[in-house]
């Protein structure tokens, strides 16, 4: 922020201090991510920078933890490669189907909630958003008893349903947000041109809300992909995912392979973040061009 010419010396010092504070906060915000990436290339099984690493000695860096994770290295016990590969497959499988379910149900509901004729709009909205607010431990405890009773505990289906339930609020929120700028006359126009409601939904509504739907789906995906507590309560070894593998690693003996996995996950979230950001801009563009 460039200062106006009339700023006095006190103002300038204050401004410099303000910028310095902001830099420190950004360092605090980014530090965990920035530290873990170089450490994952540590050639030694330590969780700190070795003197050789600080000298940028190429000998001090290696891919050994990545090789372990990929199952090519000499990792032992819970860090054997196939354990991580198995967990990754489970994670992707569960997250994919949970996202599919959450997106389908959430999008339909959000379109319905955006209609002006929707009865009991506020209380229903409050209920549908509540999985975002209710503490995860309470959700886990509730689902644990219920799923045990109906025989869904310790199954992939149970975990998928549970993850879909906590993912839907994101879809409802993002799609409702894109529906705010939606011009309802388009629906009438489509109907007057002879389209049936279903055709209107897929040919008129869907293309306009797609950015919101996809970004909601990405939120639901990352929610499931990163979820530990429900799996800890509802699943066993058969449904082990990457987060649960990390969780048990962190609670027992922490191995540098976890840092390699963490770095891979950070890369993954960067990709997802960029995708959501691009979608958001596209959606904003669509909305502003619709108004003008």
């Amino acid at each position: 922020m460039s200062l106006p010419a009339y700023t006095g010396p006190v103002g300038r010092i204050w401004h410099a201090a303000f910028i310095a504070i902001c830099c420190l906060v950004f360092i605090f915000l980014m530090a965990p991510i920035l530290v873990i990436v170089p450490l994952s290339f540590n050639a030694e099984p330590y969780f700190t920078f070795t003197p050789a690493m600080l000298r940028l000695d190429p000998e001090a860096f290696s891919f050994r933890w990545y090789l372990d994770v990929l199952g090519i290295g000499e990792g032992t016990g819970a860090n054997r490669g196939y354990e991580w590969a198995f967990a990754a497959r489970n994670s992707l499988f569960i997250a994919f189907f949970a996202t599919l379910l959450a997106t389908a149900l959430g999008t339909l509901a959000a379109v319905g909630l955006s209609r002006t004729q929707m009865p009991f709009r506020k209380p229903i909205m409050a209920l549908l958003i509540s999985p975002l607010i209710v503490p995860i431990i309470i959700i886990a405890a509730g689902m644990f008893f219920f799923y045990s009773k109906v025989g869904l505990a310790y199954s992939h289906l149970g975990v998928i349903l549970a993850h879909a339930a906590i993912g839907t609020p994101y879809v409802v929120i993002t799609v409702t947000a894109t529906m705010v700028g939606f011009d309802e006359t388009l629906i009438r126009a489509s109907a007057s041109l002879g389209a049936k409601p279903l055709r209107t939904f897929f040919r008129v509504i869907m293309p306009l809300i797609t950015p919101g739907v996809i970004s909601g789906a990405l939120f639901a995906f990352i929610t499931s992909f990163d979820e530990v507590v429900l799996i800890y309560f509802l699943a066993d070894a058969e449904q082990k995912t990457i987060p649960i593998q990390m969780w048990s690693g962190l609670r027992q003996q922490i191995s540098p392979s976890i840092l390699a996995v963490a770095t891979l996950l950070i890369t993954f979230s960067v990709i997802l973040l960029v995708a959501v950001e691009l979608l958001r801009r596209r959606s904003e563009r669509l909305r502003t061009s619709a108004v003008t």
Binding site: I33, F49, I138, I222, D226, V228, F233, I266
Partner: protein, 416 residues
Amino acid sequence: MATVQQPIIIDGRPLKEQLARAERRKKYVAFAMVLPLLLFILITFAIPIGSMLFRSVDNPRMITLAPQLTAELSEWDGQDMPPEEVFEAAVKDFKLAAEAGTLGRIATRVNYSMAGARSLIVKSKRKFKNVTEGPYREVMIKADKRWGELDTWKTLKKVSVPYTPVYFLNAIDRDLDGDGNIVKQPSEKRIYVKLFVRTLWIALLVTVLTLILGYPIAYLISTQPPRISNLLIIMVLLPFWTSLLVRTTSWIVLLQTQGVLNDLMVWMGVISDDGRIQMIYNLQGTLIAMTQILLPFMVLPMYSVMKTIPLSELRASQSLGANPFITFFRIFLPRSIPGIGAGGLLVFVVSVGYYITPALVGGAKGQMISNQIAFHMKSSLNWGLAAALGTILLVGVLVLYWLYDKVVGIDKMKLG
């Protein structure tokens, strides 16, 4: 002079009626679109949680496992020693339960309310085995003299009621004594009120810390041109999108005694190698990690309010002679309060129920109420107490949620 208007008739029906019908149809269509998700959330989410919470008062174990004893105990007034029928029912039910293999569960349930009850009941199993006729009272007292004490029977009567307030009382460090009075738990068992207070305290500290750290950067972002502000927003969003476990792992790596930060301080000579600071596995660790993890939840709502404050007003204030401090406190701060409210409530409500981070970096002193609920769910298996603690937590969170709706409005909740 008013003229009576003829209703407009189209296709043999008044237009008004047709319009009302069309509106009604639209209402049904809108509702039908919401219905699948509504049912899904009700069945997989709301009802399971509701029935779990019901366990906090539900007390079916004695009734199903020792039906005769429960029936006899409910007849007994609980004042003097129980009559022979109660003793008879106890021996018969315990024998039946021992055969069915459920005596251990009865013993566990009684043990929640009376220390030593488990061994008393399990020990009596062998002694009652060959008893087929009375007087049962003498048989029981001979087996263990505690069966001759009034308090034992009062405890049994207490645990045999179908609905019990005991779990809720335990959750606030109280208990029922033999006469049904509410008494304080012995001091070594009084942990939950302290834990609730600590949970609220941690949530409040995290809220204040995120506000102090988040306000300057939200202000900075909102006053930058789009090119720079977009970049800064991405820097706020990236931690938000990074796995919670990854960030918690990083904090362990950064803060542990052999970790990066301690190494750095030793290397710079701030502390000696023996004087490494314990920054994790305590309250401090929980606070640092939670503040970083929840900072985006504070910054984003504040930013979205701040960017609507026109910068021209700030310039106008300054051109009218106000110095930058007055401009900030009189013009900018009051208009940013809705953002503070939205961010603060969100951070508070999310941090009250935090579980993973305290479990991994909190040590003993940094645990929150969720960790205790998990302990009773997974380890001690005292599900009634877990449900009671959970109910109190949930009610608190729902009150905050309601407040959030009043102050901010849930349909204004935005992501990214």
